[in-house]
Symmetry: C2
Subunit: 393 residues, 2 copies
Amino acid sequence: MEEELLMIPGPVPVIPRIREAMSRPMIHHRGDEFAEIYEGIVENLKNIFQTKNDLFVLSGSGTCAMEAAIGNLIQRSNGRGRTEMACITVTNGKFGERFKEIAERYGEDAVTPAHFEWGQPIELERVKEAVENSPRPKVITMVHNETSTGILNPAKDVGNLAKKHDAVFVLDCITSIGGDEVPVDQLGVDIAIVGSQKCLGTPPGLSAISISDKALDLMRENPSRPFYMDLLAYKKSLEKRQTPYTPALPLFFALREALEVISEEGMERRIKRHRILSKAVRAAATRLGLSLFPKLNEVSAYSNTVTAINLPLANGITDEQLRGGMRKRGVIVAGGQEKLKGKIFRIATMGNITGREVLRTIEVLEEVLLENKVIEEEGIGSGEAKKVLSTML
Amino acid sequence: MEEELLMIPGPVPVIPRIREAMSRPMIHHRGDEFAEIYEGIVENLKNIFQTKNDLFVLSGSGTCAMEAAIGNLIQRSNGRGRTEMACITVTNGKFGERFKEIAERYGEDAVTPAHFEWGQPIELERVKEAVENSPRPKVITMVHNETSTGILNPAKDVGNLAKKHDAVFVLDCITSIGGDEVPVDQLGVDIAIVGSQKCLGTPPGLSAISISDKALDLMRENPSRPFYMDLLAYKKSLEKRQTPYTPALPLFFALREALEVISEEGMERRIKRHRILSKAVRAAATRLGLSLFPKLNEVSAYSNTVTAINLPLANGITDEQLRGGMRKRGVIVAGGQEKLKGKIFRIATMGNITGREVLRTIEVLEEVLLENKVIEEEGIGSGEAKKVLSTML
């Protein structure tokens, strides 16, 4: 049977040379070879992040790194009765809200939400108000590429706001870094996070986090930092080119190979590829009469790594018919999450995906839409996709 | 060049069929195939743990699971000014103390140490005193197999004490389960933890944790549980045969294969093998005139998975000469940690190690001891090891 094509926003398909890197024998995690692997990974990732800040690789998923950011920054009120920190959580989707949920575990009274509906764009004016009305706006969290809705949020503008108010800016770049232009330092990001199983094109299980000196200084004031995710422990261990706790070795072998693949392609070409692939998906969907889910304003944009499309429910097709039909044909696309379940579907174009996979996805989508009488003929969407994909050359 | 032989207490060498399981394509982590893999792993591990409790697999190392236990149990004092929990930390080595360090992050005032020197046995009378003198002894932590010193601590006795005082008993079985007899429920353990890269013989990056209803009930009272390690979220997701956050897929593929290897060997034979291998190391070391590091009493024993040996410093050999000499010959053994650095060395016999690897280790040890004039002829230690190993048949 043919392998399933994963077009979900992670885990993404992993090409054989990266998967096979994992089957080598274990090494001593405190020996020279691991030190060299880790150091090489860190240097490569700093280049991709475009940052001069410290950067660590955690043996845990993107959520682990999100909690590392919050848990190290927000000082619990142990013995003091009040969390001495304000955390402005800018949210317009599931992953933005995850930051809020995490922050609430560390100090419910610290959280000041700047909330927008899922799929709505961030309005800077309201974020500005939240920051200005907060007594001590020390932390601002936002998701760069909101995977749940397919929106790219305005990192630069919120970065400027953070700078102006001397706040630490935490940006979840889990599904943007490696596939889109994310110049971390230039954007004014203090803490940036990427996940392994997204645009880097490697298996799930690792995340990387970069941290400014300003953020590290705040963490030094916090005695109740988490332990496994203690970023000061990561910093200390990195001086010996080690991780504080046993690293998930095979995933490091894979990540090293994935970074080699990225360096062979070149970041510029890679970002261009991601942009064209997502543009092809958007163009095909629109040509097929489907509408994109996100609402945009002047500071937001469509995601360049995942496209959220409204299910054409008015045409009588259900989520199960659409995604189930595609699954039967070997293509897995993502559904809506939580309140968007049954309302949208999402096609990711992350990692080492090529035009071939995008085309196959669109063709299968057309087959299913035709079968369900949403469209009357095949080839129109894929024709549109082909046109866009041809600009890759 | 010949591959290095890792005789450290994790990461252990991983046999090819387990490593190669990781090179297969990714799958959808919310699909049926992953659900079946996860369910199978959980059922297999419950058998190995000999528990009827819930069991979850975390995408994080053993330390991650240790923090999951503590962080979910010990309610932070947010807004209340005092941690409403006592945590008796029974320590006689580095990993026992790790529990204490973790607990201090969650509530320094909660920690009541029952401290013994590294390598000294646990005295039950003093643990009993600590429990009885503590106002609310809700949690007792201990390490079963203290890897830093090669001691097996009295799980059954401390389990009885916990039961008597209605305390939750958290036992780090990271380096005992899979290689030694650990009947979790029979020992009165509420929370038991194993690491993937130890006696289970699979790569690092995963840990498993079993939890009693009593412990789960306490966690339900705690609103400030960690997020990535939230065990109630793990419980809820397990009902759908999923993990709450993206699992490290390749490590799950490997763990499934490792559990298949264990089931083919059978736990009884596996435990016997571990016991004979460590007995062979102890016998060889003693015969070579070396002394074992742990001091025992009537309730403690030598570890059956790692042997801690005093460096024969009086004979003029240094740590670097001994371990460096062995490393040059392709055998990696562990040194002492922290205060034991340069004083002991440790030979692990965990996972799918066989008599052949133990014999090679002893032979190389003899070569190095001879080279450094600690012994006068080779073959005495390995002869002794062979005698013990022959009882495996």
